[in-house]
């Protein structure tokens, strides 16, 4: 159940993505339940690292997972992996709860209703994500720590800017490769 998909012949859509699509399209509680089992302990670990008490972390995990259920309609696997989508929800909810302010969010793109899922595009996004994880895994302990701090919300933009020489630069080249595809996909929606 660690979400890497069963590959018999060629890549398939990952379990996580399949679960999330089932939640979105069929309001599938069993799929939501396995998604919860996968993400809730990771979210709790993540939120505690970002500075929350265990009790507050549980409040945020609950809030995030409920938001995943309620906002499932805006999940689009052609543009984001499940973990990326949940990451942003987690940061948003964490900040809304701690700072008690409404975080400004970009306009949502219109999703192509009724459009057939393009599994090659979904798989391409997932493969970028896998390569990104590999690239992160190759960083030194200090570099990885710095990246984690930035994305856990422990560094300001100025501090991130000061640190770009090292880790951000390393993963940036990795990110760039995924960007062109994403940009192409977004331009098609305008």
């Amino acid at each position: 159940m660690e979400g890497s998909g069963t590959s018999t012949d060629g890549p398939e859509i990952s379990e996580q993505t399949a679960w999330m699509i089932a939640v979105r399209d069929n309001r599938d509680r069993a799929a939501f339940s396995v998604l919860f089992d996968f993400f809730a302990p990771r979210l709790k670990g993540f939120v505690i690292r970002a500075g929350s008490s265990s009790e507050q972390a549980e409040e945020i995990v609950q809030d995030v997972m409920l938001t995943v259920w309620r906002k499932a309609a805006s999940f689009d696997p052609h543009r984001a992996q499940v973990s990326a989508w949940i990451y942003q929800i987690a940061r948003n909810r964490h900040i809304d709860i701690i700072r008690k302010e409404r975080r400004p969010l970009p306009d949502e793109l219109e999703t192509q209703a009724e459009a057939e899922p393009d599994s090659s595009q979904i798989i391409a996004i997932e493969q970028e994500s896998t390569r990104l994880k590999t690239a992160l895994g190759r960083l030194s302990a200090e570099q990885r720590e710095m990246i984690e701090k930035a994305y856990l919300g422990e560094l300001t933009h100025r501090e991130i800017s000061d640190q770009t020489g090292l880790p951000l630069g390393t993963i940036k080249s990795r990110i760039r490769l995924g960007l062109d595809r994403l940009r192409h996909e977004l331009q098609g929606l305008r």
Binding site: R99, P104, S129, Y151
Partner: protein, 212 residues
């Protein structure tokens, strides 16, 4: 549309926006820019992917026994979603949200320049500025960082020309005089994390009255 955007949100600012560490007033501008800039939307997606990879690799901490049952029991609970403010005319969703859905209420600053302060507080201020064609935004320096996003028309200053969707980043170093170009009045969304020092038509002593 808008493919001519040439001044973008810097990468570290997008990372900070994704992580939620950007001060609120800057987050309003970045969210507005991402709303109209395909490149920066894609770049933000890349940062979210990094965040997702870190989340997946995060150490697991067991949740307490009742949490899952609580969540599952709440799935059908009645829930009133937060209001979503959509783009209206030239104003992207994050601006409409800061306006609470209303249209701007312009206040005169002099020389035809008008403003509507969307929010002001300890972490700075964010406002809409209306500048008639040919008019200069008075010569000003900054104590901190200033982000300016063009929503209508264009302006030019010592560093270049900024059209619809372009974002200018100015810091203490930059002493600039933006002038609205000919054509439509220039309407910008501008945020600062410190009071701006206008030198020309608003004497420093009056600044607290105008909250600039």
């Amino acid at each position: 549309m808008m493919s001519a955007i040439t001044h973008h949100t810097p990468d570290e600012m997008l990372a900070a926006y994704a992580a939620g560490t950007l001060p609120h007033v800057f987050a309003v501008v970045v969210a507005s820019h991402v709303s109209i800039c395909v490149d920066c939307r894609a770049a933000l997606g890349a940062h979210q992917a990094v965040g997702g990879a870190i989340l997946e690799g995060a150490g697991k901490v067991a949740v307490s026994g009742g949490l899952k049952a609580n969540v599952l029991a709440s799935l059908d609970a009645r829930h009133t979603p937060e209001p979503v403010f959509r783009r209206s005319g030239i104003y992207p969703g994050p601006v409409m949200s800061a306006l609470n859905g209303r249209q701007p209420r312009w206040r005169k600053l002099g020389m035809g320049v008008r403003q509507d302060i969307l929010s002001t507080g300890n972490d700075g201020s964010v406002r809409l500025l209306y500048i008639p064609p040919g008019q200069a935004v008075p010569d000003h320096g900054h104590n901190g960082l200033e982000l300016t996003l063009v929503l209508q028309g264009s302006f030019s200053d010592e560093t270049g020309r900024f059209g619809v969707g372009d974002m200018e980043i100015a810091d203490e170093e930059l002493d600039h005089t933006p002038v609205a170009d000919a054509g439509d009045p220039c309407i910008c969304l501008a945020a600062t994390d410190a009071p701006i020092r206008f030198r020309a038509f608003v004497p420093r002593l009056l600044q607290p009255l105008f909250r600039i």
